[in-house]
């Protein structure tokens, strides 16, 4: 078993899939010779050639469109969008085409495209390098949407995504590329090497899309989270007197409703945390579903801890970032309700 950070784990997933399946190709801005601005594709072009790991013009719409055409021609493309903030120029091809193709052709055509996009804040990236748009994509039927929180899941889920015949939007919380981050920017950075989920098999394995994971068992309240927030939740729970059960949602679509409701039925309380802005964010769907399914078990209103409903700021990053303090307060609040 190797130790990998999330970048290495993603690289390993792509390396493996390029090796196993000659139809896998990678395309994106700076992904080829350079190996990606976050270095996720480092070394892959050298290893698999320029026609398998392809530098692209700066046109997200063109990148997505071309992968659809490739997918229809039997390839299994992985597109990198340099930052999730830059996915919007490609969104018509994603929503109107990629997500709908199988349906509108009654299964005669489909494009098994994986779209990788680093998301989230905590890197002083300001409003155009910090967004978390998973809520938008989760509303688009025909797309699968996932976000890993550890190197282990990153590799396993990316392998699943590439093998999946449905399009998958794969969000990568860039703040935890190098190590878990618990929301406190003043603490020295920790590396994945000190985290159990930084242990990643060198070879092939997969983590199924559509399954949430209970990352901490607890009795008092269920915390629903994903991406960087899993680590914020773990740190908060570790210090709290509240015995929280923490669920890493991992897959927004399809959503593992069973795992969520089982937990809330046990705890009777639920707090949702995500970096994305609150209003109409993915937390809304989680809250709506949980109250619908677990109404009679709930002892307190489901509470959301989210990015404020403003663009992501540069200066007040830590006031904006939903960190331990806010989560702890929400836990106390639901416990005293």
């Amino acid at each position: 078993m190797a130790r990998m950070n999330m970048i290495q784990a993603l690289n390993s997933a792509m390396d493996l899939m390029l090796g196993r399946d000659p139809d896998v190709v990678i395309i994106g801005e700076d992904v080829g010779y350079f190996g990606g601005v976050f270095r996720c594709t480092e070394g892959l072009q050298r290893k698999y050639g320029e026609h398998r790991v392809i530098d692209a013009p700066i046109a997200e719409g063109g990148i997505i469109a071309s992968t659809i055409g490739m997918g229809v021609h039997g390839l299994r493309p992985v597109a990198e969008i340099q930052f999730a903030d830059y996915i919007y120029p490609g969104i018509d091809q994603i929503i109107s085409e990629l997500a709908r193709l199988r349906y509108r052709t009654a299964g005669d055509f489909f494009a098994p495209v994986t779209i990788r996009a680093p998301c989230g804040g905590g890197i002083r990236g300001g409003q155009t390098h910090s967004q978390s748009p998973e809520g938008i994509f989760s509303h688009v039927c025909g797309l699968k949407v996932v976000m890993p929180s550890t190197p282990y899941d990153a590799k396993g889920l990316l392998i699943s995504a590439i093998e999946d015949d449905d399009p998958v939007v794969f969000f990568e919380p860039k703040r935890i590329y190098n190590g878990p981050f618990d929301g406190d920017p003043d603490k020295p950075a920790t590396a994945w090497s000190s985290h159990p989920k930084g242990e990643v098999p060198d070879g092939y394995y997969s983590v199924p899309i559509g399954r949430a994971e209970v990352v901490r068992e607890g009795e008092d309240v269920t915390i629903l989270c994903y991406g960087t927030m899993v680590h914020v939740a773990e740190a908060t729970a570790a210090r709290s007197e509240v015995d929280a059960e923490i669920i890493d949602v991992r897959s927004m679509v399809p959503l593992d409703v069973g795992t969520l409701t089982k937990s809330v039925e046990k705890t009777g309380r639920c707090v949702i945390i995500h970096e994305a802005t609150r209003f109409s964010g993915f937390g809304a769907e989680l809250a709506a579903t949980v109250q619908e399914e677990c109404f009679y078990y709930l002892e307190a209103p489901i509470t959301r801890v989210c990015g404020w409903d403003t663009p992501y700021p540069h200066a007040f990053e830590w006031e904006y970032f939903p960190g331990q303090k806010r989560l702890a307060a929400a836990l106390d609040q639901v416990m005293s309700a």
């Binding site: 046109a59 063109g62 992968t67 659809i68 039997g74 085409e97 199988r102 052709t105 999946d164």
Partner: protein, 412 residues
């Protein structure tokens, strides 16, 4: 409001009540335009983007280096498909007017664009049509019944009732699905062609869009990607002068041809007479050979005219002279091919009448057969169950439970 505006607003040459005026359409003589080698460099053939490749002259003779020299048999097949496309459209328009189908779009006047191209390509080449290229299906031998069933959303609809009429596709025939969102197929075709190149295969891709749709981002993405990767693709702009109510000047056609966009990207670009099936065929064959021999993409502008309404929801008499079509200087593609064949001695009026009658009968029979598979109002119907299939490859839990819910309501 008394401001003096300097915003230039394009004006079509004629509005309702005006005399049609196509003086703006620059037309070359038939046979006049050179035919470069397929491996010529773009900068040595830029004039092709401004001239107009024409083979058929006013006396219906086929002239010059672009003459594809189709044999009698090929000409007869082409004519048959042209007629089939026209007759099919007429019939479906009537069916829409009678309430049998919900919507329809005709290709009237621009049939040669599809038929000429499809006949010049290989069966393994992948086609990415717009909604006004149903001729591609005919020219690839599709049974009209299949298309009618789609328009009827009946039990044999290839789309299983999920798309509006005319949004056909044909996986086996290598014809891609039509999207309601204009232009999206253009860069997808480039991606398909890139995949062909990646795999080292011979098959190329071809795509079509309207001149109005060239303003969309997809057009630019297609040209950029095609140029950068030298993708084996033929990108066709069908300039039928109108985009619903706006004439081609609103897409930027006032100062330049649409083919003229290509050379700036380093793409071979040819403007042609879209109502001259021989020109369409010849240029497509040239472009296909260019693509197949590793010489990269070609952009083709087909100059033609949308003779009918935009769709069954449209009334063109509100924005253009009613009879504009009659003044169109490039004539009617069916009439021109027919005359050419007659002049060549391969065809007669009597045989033509017979052809039209045969095709009418085929379309009538097809319609009858299509109806046996149901319509929106008469069974057999599609299974409601299908509504939830194909969103994903495997139906996920939440859709299973929504399906159950729906079926519950249906049973009430």
């Amino acid at each position: 409001m008394a401001r003096k505006s300097r915003l230039h607003i394009p004006h079509p040459p004629a509005r309702p009540g005006d005399r049609p005026d196509f003086g703006y359409v620059e037309i070359s003589e038939a046979g006049e335009v050179d035919r470069p080698e397929v491996n010529s460099r773009v900068k040595h053939m830029e004039s092709l983007a401004h001239d107009m490749v024409r083979v058929l002259d006013d006396q219906h003779a086929a002239l010059g280096p672009w003459n594809p020299h189709l044999d009698t048999h090929e000409l007869q097949i082409a004519l048959r498909y042209l007629v089939l496309s026209r007759v099919f459209d007429e019939r479906m328009l009537r069916m829409q007017r009678q309430g049998n189908i919900s919507f329809y779009m005709q290709s009237t006047g621009e049939e040669a664009v599809s038929i000429g191209a499809a006949m010049a390509l290989q069966p393994s080449d992948m086609l990415f049509p717009s909604y006004r290229n149903s001729g591609l299906h005919f020219a690839r031998g599709r049974n009209p019944v299949d298309l009618m069933c789609q328009c009827l959303s009946n039990s044999k609809d290839m789309c299983k009732g999920r798309q509006m009429p005319i949004m056909y596709h044909w996986a086996r025939g290598k014809i891609f699905s039509i999207s309601g969102n204009l232009g999206t197929q253009f860069p997808q075709a480039v991606g398909w062609a890139m995949a062909s190149a990646i795999k080292g295969e011979d098959a190329i891709a071809a795509a079509w869009l309207g001149e109005g749709s060239t303003a969309e981002a997809d057009f630019h993405h297609a040209l950029t990607f095609a140029a950068v990767y030298q993708a084996p693709v033929i990108l066709n702009i069908v300039n039928n002068q109108w985009a619903i109510s706006t004439f081609q000047g609103f897409a930027g056609g006032e100062r330049r041809s649409f083919a003229a966009r290509g050379p700036g990207y380093g793409i071979a670009s040819i403007r042609l007479d879209g109502n001259d099936l021989l020109a369409v065929h010849a240029v497509t064959r040239w472009a296909a050979e260019r693509a197949r021999t590793g010489n990269g993409p070609t952009l083709i502008e087909h100059v033609t005219y949308r003779a009918a309404a935009h769709s069954t929801s449209d009334d063109p008499s509100r924005y253009r002279p009613k009879d504009e079509w009659r003044s169109w200087p490039l004539g009617d593609p069916i009439e021109r091919l027919k005359r050419h064949m007659i002049v060549q001695g391969d065809w007669t009026e009597a045989r033509h009448d017979k052809l039209v009658a045969d095709v009418r009968e085929l379309v009538d029979e097809s319609w009858k057969e299509a109806l046996t598979h149901g319509s929106m109002t008469e069974g057999p119907f599609l299974d409601k169950y299908e509504l939830f299939e194909d969103v994903f490859k495997d139906i996920p839990t939440h859709l299973i439970s929504q399906r159950e819910q729906m079926l519950g309501f249906e049973e009430d």
